[in-house]
Amino acid sequence: MEINRNNYETLFLLYQDGELPQSAMQKVQLFLLENPDLKKDFELLLQTRLMPTEILFEKKASLLRKEDKRKVIPIFWLRLAAAMIIIMLGTWIVLKQKAQRIPVQTATSIDQSVPDQVKSKLQNADTGPGDNKKQTNNSPKKDNHFPTADINNNKVFVAVKSGKNSPAKALNPEVSLQEKENVPVTRKMNQEMGEPEKVKREETVQSQSVDLVSIPNTLPSEDLKVILPAQTLATAKTTTEELSFDHTLTNGSESVNDNAISVVALNGKNKSISGFFNKLIKRNPRNTAITANEKTVQVSVFKINY
């Protein structure tokens, strides 16, 4: 760019700002020599330059930093995910196994799982003085050493498991024989009287024997803390008559097949299952002395908390 009197200010400023190449700077110097009247303008522009002043930032130390030496712990997401899967799988398996530990015994299998010690207990109970006085004269029960239900005298035998809260006893359940007298066939509820309920089973068959069994040992002990209080759930006047259930008690959950009756009742919170297993067979398999025409009623009372 050629310098002249029209553009000298711009070139003076570029010169002072150090933005001109060497050749252009020489031209400006030459122009100033040739035009001394413009030297004052050049000097005035030079005076507009600020002289650096020393100003200190007093809080400089506050700006200084140190490297953060804290160790970074990496999160291994894959390992974390694998651990979570293993924990969930383990929990599922445990819950599944726990669910399988609550068996529902079928009526037909009860008599097969009755332990021998229970049978002997029953026999001992049978020979007790309290039992003898309640047996009828023509009952074959007397010969079989089994307690007999005599409908004519309104006598009912109820199986009750003892050792309610003791795990050790529950593992080896004892069976005691209790007797309830004068229970009306009309299923009068003992609940109304404020007494403990008890399961009752009545048959009007002559020469009938009642085989009382307990809960088999295969059931987890902690789930069998309380035996269902007795109450009359079903009645039948004769062997040919169909069992009549009290639906208010069974909640309509009873079922009957050829030789077995079962009733399962869930409580309001579905936290326990209670009921009894009955098995009606033509002949007592453990006592050949009973004739083929006699009927045997096997009762098992249970309550499973879960």
Partner: protein, 161 residues
């Protein structure tokens, strides 16, 4: 940039940056806050900043923060200081340096910042363009207009004196 490099930047450039901000804003507290926020940002982004670019990085951040945050405030305060400038000139108690300082306050923020970057820090037009976000031609035009304004003020003061 390591922490050591960062601390080196603090040692080298904190004073200059504070001077730039103080002359631009004329408010010590504002200048202090702007310097601190600029170095804070440099520390956060130290891994991405080259040591050689440290100074221009700091000045760029400080300039834009200053323009964005305190422009209105600065403008109001500078307008209020104008009578003081006239008084100082009439009182004949100010040297050329003080007169220039007062004249500087008559410039707008952009002009003042460009003058400061050129005269105090010695940046080239291209470097000033990079810091301010302007192009080199805008820097040149702005700076020249600011210089001519300052020259006019100097001439007028000379006439008064």
């Amino acid at each position: 940039m390591t922490a050591e490099n960062y601390n080196e930047c603090v040692s080298k450039y904190a004073d200059g940056l504070y001077r730039f901000m103080l002359k631009s804003t004329r408010q010590a507290e504002d200048a202090h806050d702007l310097v601190q926020s600029s170095f804070e940002k440099l520390w956060v982004h130290r891994a991405e900043v080259n040591m050689l670019k440290c100074k221009s990085y700091l000045f760029t951040i400080a300039y834009h923060n200053m323009i964005d945050q305190v422009r209105k405030k600065i403008r109001m305060e500078y307008r209020e200081t104008v009578p003081d400038f006239q008084q100082a000139v009439k009182g004949n108690s100010a040297g050329l340096k003080d007169i220039l300082e007062k004249a500087l306050s008559r410039l707008n923020e952009r002009q003042r910042s460009l003058i400061l970057l050129k005269d105090y820090e010695g940046y080239s037009y291209d470097e000033i363009a990079e810091i301010t976000g302007l192009n080199a031609s805008q820097v040149k035009v702005t700076l020249h207009r600011a210089r001519l304004q300052l020259k006019e003020w100097l001439v007028s003061v000379e006439n008064v004196l």
